[in-house]
């Protein structure tokens, strides 16, 4: 058995909040009368649901970056692939209700004169198949990619850059109409999921609850992984990869496993995201999105899982808020936020929580004496 994670206080609080939110949201959104102060307006549900998905992505990224030192700039690819898999299911659910009323082909195929459904789309009318693909496609891509990269000992920025190249190439490919996934406009105009109208408040609330639960689950899995001996080995790999090899660990397998797990999580996040935002298109593959996800993790606190989730929610909330309140100046606010967090909260937002109770004699943290190895790690 996997050792049950002994949760720290923060982890418990996190689980209570996410699971609590999952349970409470439907009540607040559907049962509580709309004019009550406790009512959750539908657009808030949609918004929070989206944040949850981002938080899952952040946790996934923190798992590989925070604990294994793999700065993946390609996680947006896994996220988007999961999203596309779900989008394809939703597209096929539309059936004959599309504008051209074609029972099989999605609209964009009809007006581009496609005659039959491409092979890649087969099976997506089944939710089970689509759910499998949500995990399988990102997982396999991560596996294939990691298999080669880790075996070739590509590390540091070299790895970052090729993950970025991967997602960039996918973005361009999906952009092409010929590729068969709706080109730049992507997949949109979804009608229902498992028979429920995607736009109904109830479905929305359910999707939110699911996302919150998925976040809790991702956290639990990640946490179990990082506290296990495997997790210790992975941290050791982050700090001194070659030394771990001399102890007889197959570093490439260790990295591959965590990378694939993380990619699958990102895929699931993407799949939950799509029905909630109602569109998936190639811009989700954008390398900039990956960088932004990295930033959520950094803002929240790298290598803390909870911090990553917190960062994702905080940054996206800031974005939502600022773009609405000062549409012309919000970039200053967001940019400033990033700068200030780095300067004053080296441990991220999560560091704030620890600041408040310094009483407990903490083991002396090694003062940042940047050994060259660390610097190299950063620079390479």
């Amino acid at each position: 058995m996997m050792p049950l994670p002994r949760l720290d206080r923060l982890g418990v609080a996190f689980l209570i909040i996410t699971i609590g939110a999952a349970a409470l949201a439907p009540i607040l959104a559907l049962v509580v009368p709309h004019d009550s102060a406790f009512a959750m307006p539908p657009y808030v549900v949609a918004l929070l649901g989206k944040y949850m998905c981002y938080a899952i992505l952040a946790v996934a990224l923190d798992l590989v970056w925070g604990y294994c030192g793999i700065l993946s700039l390609g996680h947006s690819a896994f996220f988007a692939l999961g999203g596309y898999a779900m989008g394809m299911y939703l597209m096929r659910q539309i059936g004959a209700r599309g504008v051209y009323a074609n029972p099989v082909l999605p609209d964009f195929m009809v007006f581009l004169n496609w005659k039959e459904l491409p092979v890649a789309w087969w099976g997506f009318h089944s939710f089970a198949y689509a759910s499998l693909m949500v995990m399988l496609v990102p997982g396999l891509l991560a596996f294939a990619f990691g298999w080669f990269a880790f075996r070739s000992r590509v590390t540091g920025v070299y790895l970052s850059i090729i993950t970025q190249a991967m997602t960039y190439a996918l973005k361009l490919a999906f952009f092409r109409n010929d590729f068969g996934f709706g080109g730049n406009n992507g997949l949109t105009d979804f009608k229902d999921i498992l028979g429920f109208n995607v736009q109904s408040d109830a479905t929305r609330a359910a999707l939110f609850s699911l996302s919150a639960l998925a976040l809790a689950l991702s956290y639990l899995i990640s946490r179990a992984i990082v506290v296990s001996k495997y997790g210790k080995a992975v941290i050791a790999i982050r700090d001194a990869e070659s030394r771990v090899r001399f102890l007889g660990y197959r570093v490439e397998n260790y990295k591959l496993f965590i990378f694939v797990v993380s990619a699958v999580m990102a895929g699931v996040a993407g799949a939950l995201y799509v029905p909630q935002v109602g569109i998936i298109n190639p811009s989700e593959f954008d390398p900039g999105n990956s960088i932004e996800a990295v930033i959520w993790v950094a803002v929240g606190g790298r290598g803390t899982l909870v911090g990553a989730a917190l960062g994702a929610v905080a940054v996206n909330f800031a974005k939502t808020y600022f773009t609405g309140v000062f549409p012309e100046y919000w970039l200053y606010a967001l940019g400033g936020l990033f700068v200030l967090v780095t300067l004053f909260l080296p441990k991220g937002l999560i560091g704030l929580l620890n600041l408040r109770r310094p009483a407990r004699p903490t083991p002396p943290t090694p003062t940042p004496t940047p050994s060259l190895a660390q610097q190299e790690e950063g620079a390479r």
């Binding site: 002396p364 090694p366 003062t367």
Partner: protein, 231 residues
């Protein structure tokens, strides 16, 4: 004249030095002895400015230097050979040596032949990258590099570590030569007791972050010191 007075030093919450005092006079060699982890390197880091002290004072040539940035101390003649060599791995041997130019005025920016007569192996390896050298070669390079800054206070942290016996002797002779040439105070941290004893004019023994014995070599009671060094 270096005079360290009652300094405290912390790593985070852990105290590594407690009211440590040390004097090192020009023209003399001061050896600091002590077991692992008692704070010898911490003391040296405090002197060269790599670690800030929490209390006490460090005076060099009648000037308080404890507030100065490391590079300013270097420019005041403090040369440092750190434990673990800390060679610039991607710079060639020559370039490693030339980094010392930053501490001296333009007219003194040369590498004296003296250095190569002390460490002939370096002359053969001028074009090789510092990081490629063997451990012992790096140690020699580290000492040579400190000498390029023409220090008046030379601070060496375990300079014999990883060095072949004949060169250990050479290094000892080199240090003696430097003392004898005059104008230089030398502080050596060392574990190799005999070698240190033969070299020292003054000595200090540390234990648990404090100086427990100190004095001139001629007054040293060897058994007492050895007791402090044993496990």
């Amino acid at each position: 004249m270096l005079s360290v007075e009652a300094i405290d030093l912390y790593y985070g919450a852990a105290q590594a030095l407690r009211a440590v005092s040390l004097k090192a006079a020009i023209g003399r060699i001061t050896c600091v002895l002590g077991r692992n982890g008692v704070g010898k390197s911490s003391l040296l880091r405090a002197i060269v400015g790599q670690q800030a002290i929490a209390a006490g004072s460090i005076r060099w040539m009648d000037e308080e230097i404890s507030g100065l940035a490391p590079h300013l101390r270097a420019r005041r003649g403090v040369g440092f050979v750190p434990q673990g060599r800390e060679i610039f791995p991607l710079l060639t041997v020559r370039e490693n040596l030339m980094t010392g130019y930053a501490a001296v005025s333009r007219d003194k920016r040369t590498i004296d032949d003296e250095i190569f007569s002390l460490f002939p192996v370096l002359a053969e390896m001028m074009g090789r990258r510092g990081g490629d050298l063997s451990g012992g070669q790096q140690q020699q390079l580290a000492i040579a590099r400190a000498l390029v800054t023409r220090p008046k206070l030379l601070v060496l942290d375990e300079p014999t570590e990883g060095i072949q016996p004949s060169i250990i002797r050479d290094i000892g002779n080199a240090i003696r030569y430097l003392r004898q040439r005059g104008g230089m105070a030398i502080v050596v941290v060392e574990q190799y007791f005999e070698w240190a004893r033969d070299l020292a004019d003054d000595y200090a023994v540390m234990d648990r972050g404090a100086v427990v014995l100190a004095g001139e070599r001629k007054d040293m009671v060897e058994s007492e010191v050895r007791r402090r060094l044993s496990v």
